[in-house]
């Protein structure tokens, strides 16, 4: 049906024993089904059908849907952040770091729309997702304040406001066009205290330098 569907977990478990491969199939199917029907509306049999497994097989691996979402979310988070983290290594300018991280995150959402949708749902079901996101962000925010770029106070509300801008992009424009990514980055920088002009300039520059060969 959709040749662009990715199989993160099946790839990760390709060479391993049957048990791990089946688990991978369940996790990949969970991503597809959670993304298309929403977590709440998903039934266990939706997932096992999609994975072409018997309904009972699910219970050899997980106690319930929540436990499955937990593993899916952790897996996705590790996959996404490890790549972005590596790319940011050399960057010391906090606004650039934040912009690039956000843009990369949203670009992944374009290539793999299901991933971000599932991750965003997991924020409210898997508590450790929230705190992991907060931890990552806070470092760059502190850096930006030290550097004098961000003229705001760091608090839990602000961090959640930032996450909500990313969430909003995914909801308003599931296709995640370049313009949506840029506007989201600009909005984020304005939220952190940069002027409209500086935000627009920085986003333009970051796209030119780091993202020009990555268009949809």
């Amino acid at each position: 049906m959709n040749s662009s569907v990715h199989h993160l977990f099946r790839e990760q478990t390709a060479g391993k024993k049957k048990r791990e491969r089946t688990r991978g199939a369940l996790l990949d199917s969970a991503i597809s089904v959670f993304a298309s029907k929403g977590y709440a509306a998903t039934k266990i049999t939706d997932i096992t059908n999609h994975a072409e497994l018997a309904n009972g097989t699910f219970y050899n691996y997980y106690d319930d849907k929540d436990a499955l979402l937990h593993d899916v979310a952790i897996g996705l988070a590790v996959e996404i952040t490890s790549g972005i983290d590596a790319e940011l290594q050399a960057l010391i300018h906090a606004p650039t770091r934040v912009t690039l991280a956000t843009a990369r995150c949203l670009q992944i959402a374009r290539q793999k729309p299901e991933w971000l949708r599932v991750l965003l749902e997991s924020l409210f079901v898997v508590p450790e997702m929230q705190s992991a996101a907060v931890k990552y962000l806070r470092q760059d925010l502190e850096l930006g304040i030290e550097q004098g770029h961000f003229t705001i106070e760091i608090n839990l509300l602000l961090v959640n406001q930032i996450l909500s801008l990313i969430r909003t992009a995914a909801i308003v424009d599931p296709q995640m066009s370049d313009i949506t990514i840029q506007r989201t980055c600009e909005g984020l920088l304005r939220l952190l205290g940069l002027s409209s002009k500086k935000s627009a300039n920085l986003v333009a520059r970051v796209f030119k330098v780091h993202l020009e060969h990555c268009d949809a």
Copy 2:
């Protein structure tokens, strides 16, 4: 159990015929139950029990939960916006209008936490809520651009970003303390292009002039 529960719809239908009064009871109970258990987890019988009606009575009024949420959301939206709208009549300074509207909206969320929680859930189930919110906001955004205060481009993404800041306040701080309201207003103004300093000053001023006798 909770003397602070409001009965918007029962009040609205007090003098009317039985049919309308029962509908009002269902709507008020729906607000309570949706807010306390969440929309997805709410069963029809939760609502009829809360309204002290037989389970079958629900089906004399609505086909399903969605139809009920629709009526609840419309009713709440009208109630909230009409009050705020009246207060904003005389104000012509767009940033002040936006700040005051946001602050009032969040103050209502403090007094009637159930209302905002239900409204926010409805944004993704009742499509016309989204467009109604957009219509209201857009006027003030255009005004602010004309006045030279907002240095942004109006688009669907921006409007949803604004709504998401309000949503975030409700999620992060359900108590809706004054500090959360202020930070949300400030973040909103920064998102619209005001500097951190101007945002903080304006919010302080608006709270002093319009909101000083309204503390929790």
